[in-house]
């Protein structure tokens, strides 16, 4: 990794690092070469979507390219680099990327490195209440045969496998070079740096890796996910609560390309008393499922045969909540139960997703859902981004996008600090990042949390309220177009 570090005009110069090492060795005669600290301007812990995208942004910007940066990731990145699936197989971990996120990824040169035929834009959204049937339709009134440009301009979001994003970001980072990568290395401890005759690094975080390396950071970035060790080091609390819900994900094969073919794709979400169930389009006949439900229901779903699982998913978008509750008590036989009950359930087939015909092997999984918001995103020489700063209910598909928003803001904050000679690690320099992101994230977290609560009750005073809520939104077309513009940002051309 030393070979990767640049010396020319570096903010932390190589000779300082070397002389510090010498002094450090003098001061600690027991030290071995492997345990001497290496000084970096930015040490980013976590090579998920947030961490990789921050490093890419810093390396791609001429104003920050001289910074000495390091990446620490517990997993082996070779798995991400060599990630490859046949065109008819999809990973179960997908996220929708808003056009704003995509525009940002494009600006840092990463978007072109994604496998674009695995990315599926969608243009319409159908959201309805499983108890009252109230519905919002997010469509743009595209005619029967809209032009490609007209479709492009109405993209609400892009469904994409997280691995397609991270491997694209890694390809871009490899192209840019200049990152000291420590992968397959876990952060074991974070302490403070040494003091020598010349230097006082007692306020600089010192990251100890399982590989034995020690990295001293001007700015330590926690992109290390919901259980962020960097956040704990900084003593930042992240209050929140578990929803007592799990998100069940799976890759599904549908009966066709969708009701409007391959051109205009539709995302579906139905609010059930146990939580929302969403079906999001992937290329061709494929879709990805995110079903948030009770841990007990999730366990049942995961234990079913593929056929019965498919029947449950079809039921989730069509049958009444009472039917679904009953079917969750069955150990098997959901396939027959569904074919019998659907005959007695009036529904408009074109208002729900096409039928699921199969589930891809090994793609059914579940994750616990929780809401958490760190008290702050910054501390002296520490900044938190992505899930380390906030985890959100997946119902709005915003988690990863919020992280991209954080990255864009932090990269801009660092650029401003660097071009004005500020120390990028001190809170004074990081304040604009906090000011820009905290309130925005808090509002979004609050909205998604309240939606979840509103729709998790099957009876009681909230039910009539929510039905009014949804149909009222549908009626108020100006408000709806505002929401849709929020989802889509301005039209853009990316394919």
């Amino acid at each position: 990794m030393d070979a990767l570090a640049r010396s020319r005009g570096a903010y932390v110069c190589r000779s300082c690092t070397r002389s510090l090492r010498r002094q450090w060795l003098r001061a600690h005669t027991y030290s071995t070469a492997a345990t001497t600290p290496d000084i970096y301007d930015v040490v980013c812990v976590g090579g998920g979507p947030a961490g990789l995208s921050l490093l890419t942004a810093l390396r791609a910007n001429p104003a920050t390219t001289h910074l000495r940066v390091a990446l620490v990731e517990a997993q082996h990145l070779s798995k991400v680099r060599t990630w490859k699936l046949p065109p008819d197989r999809f990973s179960n971990r997908c996220s929708s990327l808003t056009p704003t996120s995509v525009r940002f990824l494009d600006s840092i040169g990463a978007w072109k490195h994604l496998e674009r035929d695995r990315v599926q834009p969608y243009h319409e959204m159908q959201v309805w209440d499983g108890v009252t049937g109230a519905r919002i339709e997010f469509d743009w009134g595209l005619g029967a045969a809209p032009s490609a440009d007209a479709i492009e301009g109405t993209t609400i979001a892009y469904m994409n496998e997280n691995l397609n994003l991270t491997s694209g970001l890694l390809k871009r980072l490899d192209e840019l070079g200049g990152v000291a990568v420590f992968d397959g290395a876990k952060v074991e401890a974070i302490t403070y740096g040494p003091e020598t005759e010349e230097l006082d690094l007692r306020q600089w975080p010192l990251v100890h890796l399982s590989s034995g390396n020690q990295l001293c950071a001007r700015l330590l970035v926690g992109a290390d996910g919901a259980n962020s060790p960097v956040r704990s080091f900084a003593g930042i609390n992240a209050p929140g609560w578990d929803y007592n819900r799990h998100g069940v994900v799976a890759t599904l094969e549908m009966e066709g390309d969708g009701w409007r073919g391959d051109q205009v794709k539709i995302a579906y979400q139905r609010f059930l008393p146990t939580g929302p169930v969403a079906m999001l389009p992937l290329p061709g006949r494929f879709s990805t499922l995110v079903w948030s439900t009770t841990p007990a229901n999730a366990a049942v779903l995961k234990s079913l045969s593929p056929k019965d699982f498919v029947a449950m998913v079809n039921a989730a978008f069509r049958l009444s909540p009472t039917d679904l509750t009953y079917m969750h008590t069955q150990e098997a036989g959901q396939t027959d139960e569904y074919s019998w009950r659907i005959q007695h359930t009036p529904h408009d087939p074109r208002a729900v997703p096409q039928e699921v015909v199969a589930v891809q092997e090994g793609t059914i999984a579940s994750f616990p859902l929780r809401l958490r918001h760190a008290d702050t995103y910054i501390a002296e020489r520490v900044a938190l981004i992505g899930d380390a700063a906030h985890t959100i209910h997946p119902l709005a598909g915003q988690g990863l996008n919020q992280g991209q928003g954080d990255v864009q803001s932090l990269a801009k904050t660092i650029e401003y600090a660097v071009t004005h000679g500020q120390d990028i690690g001190v809170t004074m320099s990081l304040e604009p990042y906090l000011a820009e992101r905290y309130a925005a994230n808090h509002v979004l977290l609050g909205v998604c949390d309240k939606l979840h609560k509103l729709y998790s009750a099957s009876s009681g005073p909230l039910v009539p309220l929510r039905s009014v809520g949804l149909s009222a939104v549908n009626a108020l077309s100006p408000l709806k177009s505002f929401l849709m513009n929020r989802a889509a940002g301005n039209p853009l051309k990316l394919f």
Partner: protein, 301 residues
């Protein structure tokens, strides 16, 4: 903190407002110093530190320990610092032929205090060296100690050098071309007894083609209101006694001073800034006649 101020003796409750003046640019009240005054012959300073007012220095020395506290009394200076770089860039860009962008700059920061500007200038890739001086040994010790926290500032490269001296005692490089590309004087002029004599000396250190860049406060009702009454007395944002309103320098006085130097200096560039609590400093056109402002002049010969 200073025990008492010369012109405002009773400071217990409220500072006494200045005598009313018809316009912002009207002649100075008789009590305050004329801008062009030179040190009296019977003054009690040694000639080599003529510009230094001991009361001022002890005031800043008392602030030393909190200099780098981002929420301490120096917060307005910290927040102002990025604008100083923007203003310097703006000055340099008016005469790209005398300072090409590939040029590595040599800075002299006079009255550097804890080193807020000096450190930031030394971090810029476009900087060759920063020499930063201050008459207060206490503050300079804080500056040196703080610079040790950043490997980019210390060590073999040695781009940042602190010297505990006055401008009068700092040796002037013989060769005029060896003098500094940028000489900075941020929030110092309003603390100096004889500004004209002081500027005469400071100006000597600018190489022909180089820039003298300073920031200070205009002496107006508004600046009295914001810096004395609001900042010191009402909000307690900066300690009482930080400012001596009578010493503030108006922008037209500075213009007049440089214009009288027989073509030695170019036309000044000015930028007025306003402090918005909770937001920070904002550039406001025309506000140089009211409160804080930046002033830059290029040395022509």
């Amino acid at each position: 903190m200073r025990p008492a101020l010369r012109h405002l003796p009773r400071r217990a409750v409220r500072p006494t407002p200045p005598a009313p003046r018809p316009t912002l640019t009207a002649p100075l009240p008789s009590k305050s110093r004329p801008f062009t005054s030179t040190p009296p012959h019977n003054h009690n300073h040694t000639p080599s530190s003529a510009s230094v007012n001991e009361t001022e220095i002890s005031h800043f020395s008392a602030l030393a320990s909190s200099w780098w506290d981002p929420h301490g009394p120096s917060r307005p200076l910290h927040l102002m610092n990025p604008l100083r770089h923007d203003f310097i860039q703006r000055c340099l860009s008016t005469s790209p032929e005398s300072t090409p962008s590939s040029f590595k700059l040599r800075y002299l920061d006079v009255g550097c205090g804890g080193g807020i500007f000096a450190e930031s200038a030394a971090r810029l890739p476009s900087t060759q060296s920063v020499t930063a001086i201050d008459p207060s040994p206490t503050i300079l010790a804080v500056a040196r100690e703080h610079a040790r926290r950043d490997p980019a500032l210390v060590g073999s490269k040695g781009r940042l050098t602190y010297v505990n001296t006055t401008i009068e005692e700092l040796p002037l490089p013989e060769e005029r071309s060896d003098r500094y590309d940028v000489v900075t004087l941020f929030e110092v002029l309003e603390h100096v007894d004889y500004p004209a004599a002081f500027l005469d000396r400071v100006g000597e250190f600018v190489r022909p083609g180089g820039w003298l860049v300073l920031s200070t406060i205009a002496r107006t009702w508004m600046s009295w209101f914001t810096t004395k009454l609001v900042a010191e007395d009402v909000l307690g944002m900066v300690p009482r006694g930080t400012h001596d309103w009578e010493k503030y320098v108006n922008e037209d006085e500075l213009r007049g001073y440089f214009a009288k130097k027989g073509g030695q200096w170019g036309a000044p560039r000015v930028m007025g800034v306003v402090y918005v609590p909770g937001v920070g400093w904002r550039e406001v056109t025309g506000s140089e006649r009211i409160g804080n402002y930046f002033f830059g002049v290029q040395r022509l010969s």
